[in-house]
């Protein structure tokens, strides 16, 4: 029987702690355990053999840390470490008289890299995939029967490892993660989000190991069984560590461990093993107590779930709001931002939608003149760095979808597939490989059907085709399509009927971009919001809408409150009282001047007042006589030490709000300022607040800032300087260890782009240091950077 059959049809016993046992056998602390595969093979084999004799069927190799990102100084190659690790396990099976692949299996152990991936860490996702792949290819070549990716504490890294296994080997893959007492991973992910992502990517079994003892794991195991359609593996530590006479010991013995494992088995868990502190005795006690027990069969579950790196969104009675704002259709400002590669505007749309109650964010960057493959991926990564909402990837370009699905941290929604053969042929293979919940549009080669029944038929066809790829109905959300009611008076009714039939007859979740319904009519929000309520009442599971629209939000909140989906009316009351407050605020502030709002740093009010002023005043008057003087006053106060940095920034943000109101009124796509400045935090340095502060102020004073971000290589900075013919560049470094990178960058720029002056700043710098590394100028703070820039551009 192979390992997949065994775990699906009964109990699979996995071995216990390896590293902790090797330390007991004399492995020096601080030494790489994998070296023992070569230097002390007999001891490693002995331990494997003891586990086999205890009743373990799966032997995990001593290769947990064998990853090129982790081993830096080692006299043995990765291949030697992995091959000997697998060889030792094979040898132990042979010595114990078992048959490899029949009643004993070699599992290649793959642990985390010990590094954090971008955006918060330094490692590129694809570099992690490559590193895992190397170990896994070697493991398969050496004869492993399966791969166990274990002790993962970051969903993103787990995804990289699982992808590496699926793309580079044909071995079955188990993935187990390490939760803490609060039931979250180190990176914050909850149980359901982990289950959704790993299952979507077609792991063969999933579960939990390390971090906790069996008692603490019970509740988590229960959730795994409840939500997952896969066999579950549980490998706890020997309890929780406690301090006894200055030594750390785990707090439960093998008998207590076995009793707890029996209870875990009874929950419906199929794979039983151990982690830190457990020994062959723990496994033996567990096997003795549970051998031959009946185990609940692995059952298919029907939950529709999308996830991010922290949490999942479950499609349930309460409808899901998908924020539609990151989509250039009909939004000139967003179009411009995409063309200029200005992600900040897009990111603030993401943050605002989340603040206004979106559950999922749609990302659509389709514009004819941009490289959608690159842009969708870039925008996705940037949005995921500022928002922890699950993402809906919205594109008709399959390669753009694929690249984005690959790097998406979580289980995304895919918008969309439709009933056309070509669409299904290109989208379903992606969903099969990367996982996701796919939006299915009820149209096909013959267009959009006029009746509800025909739309349901197309949905059925799509669901049947998806099944061929192993994609369940739960991972399909049908869009019955809202068409303008002004061109066909029946169109709203057809959509409503379709939603009802799809929900009740077909039992599938639904989604709608509701605002199409009012196309061509005045006061669209009025129609949209009523239509939304009608659709919800007929079963609509989710709406693609603008969460910032007051009327839509009112309709949503009221619906949830009236239907009993809002416990104690909490959301409704918070929303309604917030509305009342904003009404009363706007009354009392009637006398506030724009100058005052900017000086105080009231961003929203500065925008509102400026907007109101544009109705009566010339835009240039507003800028030159109100915004600039206010900014100058605050700037001068900062230089005189009467205004402090937080206030300066609040004012700068308020001024930015006022500027954008004026720009909107002028309604021109005015050419950007000629005064371009490149900003970057140097290579190796991951601090970027200082650089961003300088950016905000420079922009306020009308400079066009090209922001290269943090940890930027000298060559990249030179390329940008050359490309835009830059004469002024600002560099920031916060650590003494990265000032050398700053020096290198300046040297390179002086050689290859002598026209470019370089100003520098950052906590560890001072004027002397700046002179030493040949910077053109040292700026002690952000205002000084503004003054220096003004001087350089002769303002």
């Amino acid at each position: 029987m192979n390992v997949i059959e065994r775990i699906n049809n009964g109990i699979l016993y996995i071995d216990g702690g390896l590293g902790s046992s090797l330390i007991k056998m004399g492995l020096e602390s601080g030494m790489m355990p994998e070296k023992w595969n070569i230097t002390n093979a007999d001891k490693v084999i002995g331990l494997h053999k003891a586990y086999l004799e205890a009743g373990a069927q799966v032997i995990t190799t001593n290769t947990f840390g064998a990853n090129e990102l982790k081993i830096d100084e080692c006299e043995y190659s990765l291949e030697e470490l992995v091959a000997s690790g697998v060889e030792n396990a094979k040898k132990a099976i042979e010595l114990s008289g078992k048959v490899k692949g029949e009643d004993a299996y070699v599992a290649l152990s793959v642990g985390p890299t010990g590094k954090l991936l971008k955006p918060l860490g330094e490692i590129e996702f694809e570099d992690a995939v490559t590193a895992f792949a190397k170990t896994m290819i070697l493991g398969e070549k050496a004869g492993a029967d399966l791969i166990i990716i274990e002790t993962m504490s970051d969903t993103y890294e787990a995804k990289a490892a699982l992808l590496a296994a699926k793309e580079n080997t044909s071995l079955p893959v188990f993935v187990t993660v390490a939760f803490d007492e609060k039931e979250s991973l180190m990176t914050g992910a909850d149980v359901l989000s982990v289950v959704a992502m790993l299952e979507g990517m077609k792991a063969d079994a999933i579960g939990i190991n390390c971090g906790l003892g069996p008692h603490q794991m019970k509740k988590i195991a229960e959730k795994f069984v409840k939500y997952s359609s896969l066999p579950i593996v549980v490998s706890p530590n020997a309890g929780m560590p406690k301090n006894v006479d200055g030594k750390t010991v785990y707090d439960i013995d093998e008998n207590e461990f076995a009793l707890a494992m029996k209870e875990i088995l009874e929950l419906g868990v199929h794979g039983l093993g151990g982690c830190c502190g457990t020994t062959p005795e723990y496994i033996k006690a567990t096997v003795n107590l549970t051998k031959g027990m009946a185990v609940k069969p692995v059952e298919k579950k029907d939950y529709t779930v999308v996830s991010s790196y922290t949490h999942a969104v479950l499609f349930d009675k309460k409808p899901v709001i998908v924020g539609e704002r990151i989509n250039p259709t009909g939004k000139p400002k967003l179009k411009q931002a995409l063309r200029d590669n200005e992600l900040d505007y897009i990111l603030s749309e993401a943050v605002l939608q989340q603040q206004n109650g979106a559950h999922v964010l749609d990302i659509n960057v389709g514009l004819p003149e941009i490289d959608e493959v690159k842009m969708l991926k870039d925008v996705l990564c940037a949005v995921q760095a500022v928002s922890d909402l699950p993402i809906q990837l919205d594109s008709s370009d399959a390669s753009a979808l694929e690249q984005a699905m690959r790097v998406c941290n979580g289980k995304p929604m895919i918008n969309s597939v439709n009933g056309k053969r070509s669409s299904m042929d290109s989208v379903f293979p992606l969903v099969k490989k990367y996982g996701g919940v796919v939006v299915a549009l009820t149209l096909d080669e013959n267009g959009i059907p006029a009746t509800a029944d025909e739309r349901v038929k197309i949905a059925e066809k799509i669901i049947a085709e998806a099944k061929k790829y192993g994609i369940d109905k739960k991972d399909i959300v049908v869009d019955a399509l809202a068409m303008s009611v002004s061109s066909d008076k029946n169109s709203a009714q057809v959509t409503i009927d379709s939603v009802r039939k799809l929900t009740h007859d077909l039992g599938v979740n639904t989604i709608l971009g509701v605002s199409n319904i009012s196309f061509g009519l005045p006061n669209r929000e009025m129609l949209n919001s009523s239509f939304l309520t009608l659709c919800f009442e007929n079963g609509l599971s989710s709406a693609i809408m603008n969460p910032m629209s007051k009327m839509m939000k009112q309709a949503y909140m009221s619906f949830c409150a009236l239907k009993g989906y809002d416990d104690n009316f909490e959301s409704y009351i918070a929303f309604a009282s917030g509305e009342e407050q904003s009404v009363s605020n706007s009354k009392t502030d009637e006398d506030m001047t724009l100058t005052f709002a900017i000086e105080k740093g009231f961003t929203a009010k500065a925008y509102d007042i400026a907007k109101e002023l544009t109705k009566s005043e010339n835009p240039l008057t507003i800028v030159n006589e109100m915004i600039i003087p206010a900014l100058n006053k605050v700037g001068e106060g900062f230089e005189k030490n009467t205004v402090f940095l937080p206030q300066l920034l609040m004012s700068a943000e308020a001024a930015k709000g006022a500027f954008s109101a004026v720009k909107e009124a002028m309604n021109d796509e005015k050419e950007k300022s000629e005064n371009k400045i490149v900003l970057a935090t140097v290579e190796g340095d991951i601090h970027d607040i200082g650089k961003n502060i300088v950016k905000v102020l420079l922009e306020n004073y009308g400079f066009d800032v090209i922001d290269l971000g943090k940890d930027v290589k000298p060559q990249e900075i030179l390329e940008a300087v050359s490309k835009y013919n830059i004469t002024l560049c600002g560099l920031s470094a916060l650590m003494t260890t990265t000032v050398t990178a700053m020096e290198e960058t300046i040297k390179l720029l002086n050689e290859k782009a002598p026209q470019c002056k370089v100003f520098v700043g950052g906590a560890v710098l001072n004027k002397e240091y700046a002179d030493m590394i040949n910077a053109s100028h040292y700026c002690k703070d952000a205002m000084e950077a503004v003054r220096y820039a003004q001087e350089q551009f002769g303002e």
């Binding site: 914050g188 190796g684 340095d685």
Partner: protein
């Protein structure tokens, strides 16, 4: 057993963030304006929902050599300043403490969307990790019934910043509390502290 590392978790409300210290980090002198006060309070409230204080620590026997100090033979550090700091101590605790990744995410979010808030949150987080380290050291003094030497971290004086790697390793900090190192030895999550705390022998309880 494996490395004798203990972990310590504290709820957010148990760690007292010193607003005066935050304002000092922000270089605000004298009375803060009402707007700054409001922003600060708002940031502290938001910070509290994202922070997750975690620490791991391990006790070592010290052996002073001519040029170095050995920590139970598991770690050897060369530093005159550290030797001085640990004089009169036969034991020392090594700890790694963090506010966790949620805080990095929060600051990162505002860093590109509302930098005034990022700045204030960064200062709040700096004050918070200081306060958490104080809480931890108070606990050490209580647990071991002894006075402690001032905290000493990699990068102080002549203790090279690259020793950060050994400190993270001996405390198993990546696995226990999720602290990793960048190529240049910056800890990620960013608001983390690693330090060595000598236990004064003269006051040692047992």
């Amino acid at each position: 057993m494996d490395k004798a590392v203990m972990t310590f978790l504290v709820d957010a409300e148990k760690v007292n963030i010193d607003k005066k210290l935050v304002l000092r980090f922000l270089k605000v002198r004298g009375e803060a304006t009402k707007e700054i006060e409001e922003l600060l309070d708002d940031c502290i409230n938001e910070f509290q929902t994202y922070v997750s204080y975690k620490a791991c620590y391990r006790m070592f026997d010290l052996k002073t050599e001519e040029k170095s100090i050995s920590f139970s033979d598991d770690m050897v550090l060369c530093s005159e300043n550290l030797k001085k700091n640990l004089s009169g101590c036969e034991k020392a605790l090594v700890f790694v403490a963090t506010t966790s990744l949620g805080v990095d995410r929060l600051i990162h979010k505002y860093s590109s969307t509302q930098v005034s808030r990022a700045l204030v949150l960064d200062a709040v987080a700096s004050a918070a990790i200081e306060a958490f380290c104080d809480t931890l050291c108070d606990k050490f003094e209580a647990d071991f019934d002894a006075d402690t030497a001032p905290r000493f971290s990699p990068g102080y004086g002549d203790l090279d910043i690259s020793t950060q790697k050994q400190v993270i390793d001996v405390c198993d900090a990546t696995r226990k509390v999720g602290v990793t190192l960048s190529k240049k030895f910056t800890m990620i999550p960013r608001k983390s502290v690693s330090a060595i705390v000598g236990i004064k022998s003269s006051s040692y309880g047992e």
